[in-house]
């Protein structure tokens, strides 16, 4: 009896060094400007070539400005970092979808939308949210820069094999409940350490009924449970998605449907959820596990970490988040920066205006998403509601590139991390679904979509 994860992993096993160390071959390697320069330095210092430039794809996303992308980048360090990426890609013959390129965007948005991410592959990237690609029946996980160098040099990586965890979700999600609410709900119940040492498979009727975009949101946040990654078995939905994409024309329906876990007994650990229990979920603290239903009260825990967290957020025991005034709304990131997300937001805000005191920032995950927004006529909807539409990038998800939230102010964000300072020093992040974020923008406060 084997899980889907084991089947893919075992196919890629090159060598078992000891029980903590295996060599795994890599089908696709995504790189970006922030975690790759030091890896290229290692290669260049040793005069080592990139082994498979054809299996490596680069994009610029973390450190890019989200406006005036056609002009010179003002911040000198950012400019140098982007130039370094270009220089390294040129030198080693790696395809780079740089700033302004039609394929440019957040690495975890463009990989799937170009059809580079395919079932049965092992994919790595120097970024923890590489788990996103797991939605395609792919084993995908984040690595550090030293491992980026390993993969560049050898198309393989040294790593430990994780155990397997099945998260089974059945039933229908209620109205206005998205896959983001589901994953925030799951993490709030299990905690940020529950997945440590495991690779997750998400299964069950709820997952089967989801679009690829929604599945990506779920897999994206599996890392927030401490898991190495999360995947979903490919199926006909995967096939329908991939058949229209640029690099996945050769993927067949059979290829999508053939690889599955042998049964529930194959997993080291199993947890079940009922989709009916999921309500609009938001976070109140400074890790993604500190989530509650919008209408629920915060219940204090007696420990330093929790106390520090609530103090940072300016929130108190017994408080409900519903009705909390907010100053910013950020819609974007590799969690919820796809066309489906913006469509959902547009449906809520159409004919409405954002609250006067709210700044609503909408950052598409890629140039392709931006194009879709325009061709579907949504740009006008957003602009007449008072939203700022930017060019693609990670933007305020990590506040590295000029887009950030001022200290002490609240931001309802569709991204994946609410750590202290994540969206700017002192910024207070409330993670939510795109629908909840849209309602917050209109009402200027946390609002229950129901």
């Amino acid at each position: 009896m084997k899980t889907l994860f084991d089947k893919i992993w075992d196919k890629h096993l090159v060598e078992e060094i000891d029980d903590q160390t295996q060599v795994i071959s890599i089908d696709r390697h995504y790189i970006h400007e922030v975690t790759s320069p030091q890896a290229f330095n290692s290669l260049n210092e040793k005069g080592v070539a990139v082994m498979r430039p054809d299996l490596t794809t680069a994009t610029a996303d973390h450190n890019v400005p989200t406006q005036d992308q056609d002009k010179a980048i003002k911040n000198e360090l950012s400019r140098i970092q982007l130039e370094t990426l270009k220089k390294n890609c040129d030198q080693h013959g790696i395809e780079l979808y740089g700033l302004g390129h039609e394929n440019n965007g957040i690495v975890h948005v463009i990989g799937p939308e170009l059809g580079l991410t395919q079932p049965g592959m092992i994919i790595v990237c120097g970024d923890s949210h590489t788990s996103t690609h797991g939605a395609f029946g792919t084993v995908a996980f984040g690595i550090g820069t030293s491992q980026v160098a390993q993969v560049l040099a050898s198309q393989s990586v040294l790593t430990a094999k994780p155990k397997t965890l099945l998260i089974q979700v059945d039933g229908e999600l209620n109205q206005y409940i998205t896959s983001k609410d589901l994953i925030l709900h799951i993490i709030s119940r299990l905690g940020t350490g529950f997945g440590a040492g495991y690779f997750i498979e998400f299964a069950g009727s709820t997952i089967a009924n989801m679009s690829m975009e929604s599945r990506m949101t779920v897999c994206n946040m599996s890392i927030e449970m401490g898991a190495r990654g999360g995947l979903i078995a490919a199926d006909a939905v995967t096939y329908e998605y991939l058949k229209t994409k640029k690099f996945s024309q050769g993927v067949s329906l059979q290829q999508c449907e053939e690889m599955k876990s042998d049964g529930i007994e194959a997993f080291d650990k199993v947890v079940k959820f009922n989709a009916h229990d999921v309500r609009p979920t938001v976070t109140f603290g400074t890790n993604p596990g500190m989530g509650i239903g919008i209408e629920d009260q915060i219940v204090t825990q007696d420990n330093d970490t929790f106390t520090k967290s609530l103090e940072y957020m300016g929130l108190t025991d017994r408080l409900k988040l519903e009705g909390l005034p907010i100053q910013h709304v950020f819609i974007g990131s590799c969690t919820n920066g796809r066309f489906e997300d913006f469509e959902a937001v547009a449906a809520v805000i159409k004919g409405n205006k954002k609250a006067a005191h709210v700044r609503a920032l909408l950052v598409p995950g890629s140039n392709a998403v931006l194009k879709q927004i325009k061709s579907a006529g949504l740009k006008e909807v957003f602009e007449s509601a008072g939203f700022e539409i930017r060019q693609p990038g990670c933007s305020a998800c990590l506040a590295m590139n000029g887009d950030s939230i001022p200290a002490g102010e609240y931001c309802v964000s569709t991204s994946n991390r609410n750590f202290e300072g994540r969206q700017g020093a002192g910024a207070r992040t409330i993670l939510a679904s795109p629908i909840t974020a849209a309602f917050a923008a209109i009402n200027g406060k946390i609002t229950n979509p129901n």
Binding site: S78, Q81, G126, S128, G142, L158, G193, D304
Partner: protein, 173 residues
């Protein structure tokens, strides 16, 4: 890379759980293209307030605490995969971090840079904490060959596991 076998040092306690890599090194300091100099901004937003003044209460700024070992709460290094976090800790001068659990990617990053992620039981960490809070000079010995940590005042000891293959291997050779 320098091979470490025994570390004898007092510890610097930052006893919070779930210390994520955004705290260890905030994203705005990730613009560099080399591995050096990140120690300056280690725990930046905890070490300095909004106006750039030192937060004297934070253990790294408190003269009471010094040493080559960082003692942390559980689930250390969660969040972003940025190896810059391991570089920053190492660059600041720490040789080892002790926690009851390390996030997977951080652990690998630390090992790839000769920074020891030492996993000990919560009970032993609690004992270390008690001794250290009582006497900040308390020394720990980390013996990599024996794979054990010794609390020198009481002689209490515990084994840890680090694959010899992993410790001190550099990235491409």
């Amino acid at each position: 890379m320098e091979k470490v076998t025994i570390i004898r040092s007092s510890v610097v306690p930052v006893l919070l759980d779930d210390i994520d890599t955004d705290q260890i090194i905030p994203a705005r300091f990730l613009k560099a293209t080399s591995r050096e100099g990140f120690g300056e901004n280690l725990f930046r937003d905890w070490r300095f307030n909004d106006s750039g003044e030192s937060e004297i209460k934070f253990p790294l700024n408190d003269k009471k605490w010094s040493g080559e070992i960082l003692l942390a709460g559980e689930n250390f290094g969660c969040g972003s995969s940025r190896e810059h976090a391991a570089w920053a800790i190492k660059d600041y001068g720490f040789k080892a971090v002790i926690s009851s659990h390390f996030a997977d990617i951080f652990k690998g990053n630390a090992l790839n840079n000769g920074l020891l992620p030492i996993e000990l039981s919560k009970a032993f960490i609690e004992d270390i904490k008690e001794e250290v809070l009582l006497n900040p000079e308390t020394k720990l010995e980390i013996n990599l060959e024996q794979q054990e940590v010794i609390l020198r005042v009481s002689g209490e000891r515990e084994k840890f596991v680090i694959s010899p293959y992993n410790s001190g291997n550099s990235d491409v050779d």
